[in-house]
Symmetry: C2
Subunit: 431 residues, 2 copies
Amino acid sequence: MEIIINPDRYDWKEISKRTLIDTSQLDSLCKEVFNAVGKLKDHAIRQYILQFDKVNIDNIEISRDEITDSVKSIPEELKNAIHLAKDNIWKFHKSQELIPNIITTTQGVECWQESRAIEKVGIYIPGGTAPLFSTVLMLGIPAKIAGCKEIILCSPPDKDGKIANEILYAAHITGVDRIFRIGGIQAIAAMTLGTKSVPQVNKLFGPGNQYVTAAKQYATRLGIAIDLPAGPSEVLIMADETSDTSFLAADLLSQAEHGKDSQVILISTSQTLLNSVNQIVYKQLEDLPRKDIAGQSIQKSKLICLPDKQNCIDFINEYAPEHLILSVKDVDFFTSRLVNAGSVFLGHFTPESAGDYASGTNHTLPTNGYAKAYSGVNLDSFIKKITFQKITEQGLQNIGPAIELMAEAEGLHAHKNAVTIRLKKIKSNQS
Amino acid sequence: MEIIINPDRYDWKEISKRTLIDTSQLDSLCKEVFNAVGKLKDHAIRQYILQFDKVNIDNIEISRDEITDSVKSIPEELKNAIHLAKDNIWKFHKSQELIPNIITTTQGVECWQESRAIEKVGIYIPGGTAPLFSTVLMLGIPAKIAGCKEIILCSPPDKDGKIANEILYAAHITGVDRIFRIGGIQAIAAMTLGTKSVPQVNKLFGPGNQYVTAAKQYATRLGIAIDLPAGPSEVLIMADETSDTSFLAADLLSQAEHGKDSQVILISTSQTLLNSVNQIVYKQLEDLPRKDIAGQSIQKSKLICLPDKQNCIDFINEYAPEHLILSVKDVDFFTSRLVNAGSVFLGHFTPESAGDYASGTNHTLPTNGYAKAYSGVNLDSFIKKITFQKITEQGLQNIGPAIELMAEAEGLHAHKNAVTIRLKKIKSNQS
């Protein structure tokens, strides 16, 4: 790992830069696939599945029987683990519900917000050897709490046309309504445009490779909302003399194994600590099944020594990490000054993998510095807040003249008139 | 206006279609301007101001003196109106603050959200003859409540290089930090990329013409967040036998005067009511200064007769109006079934223009059916919700085994190891 000692503030921006995949060259491919799906619908989807996934699919949709089979196939122990995670995720996201609060801004003028679920949401889950069923929980559970009417899920089929049992099981217990064996750009196109088999959705969620990322970006131009702009996963750990260096090494590696473009950063005021962690990381790396991937991302990762705590928190805010582990004694110093981060893990016994699976927080978070402007996925991601207002005759008499003056000053006389005509009526009723 | 009687449900989607300006052909112009501003910075901006606004600008930034002058120039009566509006907008948005709520999901596992302001936000206010100072209030006030550190505003200069006094005044009293006389694509480019004069921001807000819309879309590809996808303003009014037809006509026209592409729809179960409103609209139109604009948009607008209340609310949810006026007796029937809308106005004395200026709700709202997936601007638009979690040794013992099982099932052994290494340590400490 690269060790950087007291970098100049001027260089922080450069140090914070992530390696991003430019998906703009996939634009024309997206256009082609979206056009084909828009025109030939399910027929196009089957063609693309044959072309990209090398499998001939009759039923795009997963049947009841397949779901029942998946339930039987999961070991009882894993089922219990998934249910523990589900309960925690449910509790935390349920606590985020909006409680309507009627505000009287002026006597006779009441304003409030109410939340309504986004009606139709689509969840994309990548395929591959490791089935990311935890992401099904992270997206399906808040969608269910929000009250989304139709929750659908797409995931690419394997060479036998199947989706991993763990994904089917997680979808089943969270209440996903329909599951489709479609991956890649064609999955995003199907959910964006709708076909006979696949319903059109209002918002798309979930991670994916560069093709899926490009397709989600393309979908936004057609008016579909997406959860978050995508980027490789990342962690920044802040450590001090109270940290356990073997914990730090394990946390760095747990992020590094996600992919070879994962970003891993450790900062501290102690160079000795950084050197020590650097050694332990390579020792722990040896025992990992995903040693190749983790090794590549560790190679590019950074250990940064900064002169004091203030410099450390300033760097954290500049970097705006997706995951921030505060493995320090004086947690409050950092949290009180923290501005930019996705999800924060406090203390020595709060590993990031807890938030990935089972603590209750969401693991779909802003990467690539997007934490400067975006929240991670939470219950808000599945609802809209609609504003309501109710004005009495007295209320309109209280604020009407101000509206008339402002509308006139903006040159909008019909806006003014909508008030004037009512105020006149109120007066004539009173006399 | 077009009167549509009992349209087939199959045709609702077509009826709900908005006229949208396709800004994709402005992509190359955006690219050109963004590249120039990225390279030549303030110099490029001055060049574009000369080219597009036909004025030679020395100081891009508005001076303290100009702001002081604007304060003097506003009539006392209008100042009072603006302050009444400010107070109401402040009260309502202040009530939206997140109250941290620590949730113990499992014994020893605490999760919560805290909000942090987006540090730097940019507000765009269009120029032209009618200064939209109300939008300054709608965006500046929640930014201030959120605690944004730097709030900047760009608005195009008039032929004398000035920005309307009302805009300067509204910016001054809401606490906008810096104001720049820049409009169009170059304003969005400056706030996206930063120059010597103009700071780079994290998120862009505000309405604009097709150039600004295209530029905001372009900015998102460079990682800058924006408030909402743009579209022409619109209102849908639901009326019944208790409605005052002259109020309805005035409300329709108040929306129609925004622009010739504004969408105005009135629905009712009574054809007689629709016919009557149609006549009054044209009568009221005669007296409007913006008769030309309002006339053009009214011409394309629709009066729709539907068989019963259930059909009406179904149509409303399909249309997903930016503004919804429920000018009906049985308001609860509609609000309880309402799913998609931006802002809702209840009863006969709640004109939409109240929400545009002074009731307290925000007027930056989702158009073009985006209310199916987006909320209007509210306090959330200026903050991020960061999740925090704190796990004790006991807590990790409670959820750790579940994390280990799930991580292993996903093939992520380093994730598992981050827990295992800690559980071992806890055990060895205990023995």
